[in-house]
Symmetry: C2
Subunit: 349 residues, 2 copies
Amino acid sequence: MKIIVDAYGGDYAPLETIKGALQARDAYGVSIVLTGNEEEIRRIAAEESLSLADVEIVNATDVIGMNEQPKTILKEHKDCSMAVGLRLLHDGGGDAFVSAGSTGALLMGATFFVKRIKGVSRAALAAVLPSDKGPYMLLDSGANVDCRPEMLMQFASMGSLYMSEVMKNGEPATVGLLNVGTEEHKGGDLQHGTYELLKNSSLSFVGNVEARDVPAGAADVIVTDGFSGNVLLKTLEGTVDMLLGYMKNIFYTNLFTKIGALLVKPHLAALKKKLSTAETGGAPLLGVARPVIKAHGNSKALAIQNAVRVAAEFARTGVIDKITEAIASEKEKGDQVTDGATATEATAD
Amino acid sequence: MKIIVDAYGGDYAPLETIKGALQARDAYGVSIVLTGNEEEIRRIAAEESLSLADVEIVNATDVIGMNEQPKTILKEHKDCSMAVGLRLLHDGGGDAFVSAGSTGALLMGATFFVKRIKGVSRAALAAVLPSDKGPYMLLDSGANVDCRPEMLMQFASMGSLYMSEVMKNGEPATVGLLNVGTEEHKGGDLQHGTYELLKNSSLSFVGNVEARDVPAGAADVIVTDGFSGNVLLKTLEGTVDMLLGYMKNIFYTNLFTKIGALLVKPHLAALKKKLSTAETGGAPLLGVARPVIKAHGNSKALAIQNAVRVAAEFARTGVIDKITEAIASEKEKGDQVTDGATATEATAD
């Protein structure tokens, strides 16, 4: 298994990215390809006494910034470390690609250089989040601001295959539709249309799910448009940060609270680990023809290591082949329905 | 000051609703009108030894349930405790109305029985939430799933007047637009259109705000459509509940953690109080011609008491008159622009 890592993507690149990739190599026995400034990578490795054994480096001196327009990856930045990695993935130079760089650029680059699975109308950013009932997937979590019911239906199909194959050993995954209430009539046109499609699908649809119940793990897959998905994801992150900050302040109040803190310390550390996005290891871009993982922009070495682990599992389970089959079979069914409709019309004539 | 309270709205009605209203009477010296089953209210008060001094009761034996279609308040449930209270408010039988009943029914009833302020295209549910920098307003937080830029612009005007007058002693309130990133080009048509309007308005617009920064108090007023606003509000609530639950479990782990819990207990209680929606006292329906406050469905006596306090402040500050003036003056400006455009066209002819 060979994983390509964008050494220059993310807030702590390249040092933490390189470290994380090497940790993954050591922990999971995967081969690593780093894309980025080769001279600099070799210098950093030497300075930090990091071994580059079993690591290829593909040189790319340009980097696409977090605030650049995504489309610049197609022209101005077509030779940046992210673009080079994506083309390498497409050409078979590795089994999966990991980047902690700009989400918009990664989506644009993946769609253009790696291509979408045939029949997929849009690729989705599928965040995998921790809950007491195990990890769950939230998609779209920021790639597609405006969505149609057919897109959400495809997101649900892809997400439930991914969760089933990669996270649940083939057990079926439940799907919930994010909505402002649990009753069927809640929401707007997008929710009504998607509810209809999900209800009549072969997926394990559990109905509408309120945002309040998502953090506790209301379903294995939560589908929604990229705007509200992004709002959910970031509200969750912001609230966790705020509360852990409050707890820290409480524990630092005085001698008594400091003693209190010592007594619960190991449990608090376990809680932080449980809630940490560094542990879940990044979000797959579902709908792209080869495995691409978006790691969090603030990834340090541990998060990159876990993203590489997830990328390897994504590639190993062959879930993309299963998604490709499922979409083709949906398409066929759709065509039959259309054919039927045409036939009826013809008869009516 | 006379506040009408829907005695039969909410999960803990009527006992907690009645108790909360009476507590508000005692704490703030307001008069109370209760709507609901008079016989039952008098019986409960007698059983619980609650004094009904300075309390009017307007009889209404019907109740509209949380899961009923909102429009049933206009016909099947037109004489329920909520409808009776809203008509009483309209007819001058009180200065403000508080209900913990169904949000949809309250919005429908308020729009139909109390009417909107002239020129307001839609009333918004404006949740007031706690943060370290003081309370902030999130609107729309669930009333209007589909919105246009002009609606969000009106929400911003109304929200900033409310926060300035009711919460900040006339100090100007800052306004942020909820978006998937801070850069101006982020989001879809709704965000682009609203950004333009806010940028060119006289409001203190701070630009796009990510959901991650909302819980810490990124602006006094956060505007967005009712779908994503509801998602933000409920994700915040769900995450706080989940984390406080985890903390409780940690403290109950063993003898040491129990001692730890004792040492931080008063600080934890203060934190819970700070984050409690019971303290913020409910969400005004902005755009309605008289003060209407939606209390949380799970309100117990303290939350109702605080909702009555907020309702009294809402009425006392006369912010609805200021909103009415602002909307009329915006309308006039709009008409002048239209007149100007027509004049130019005429000249061009």
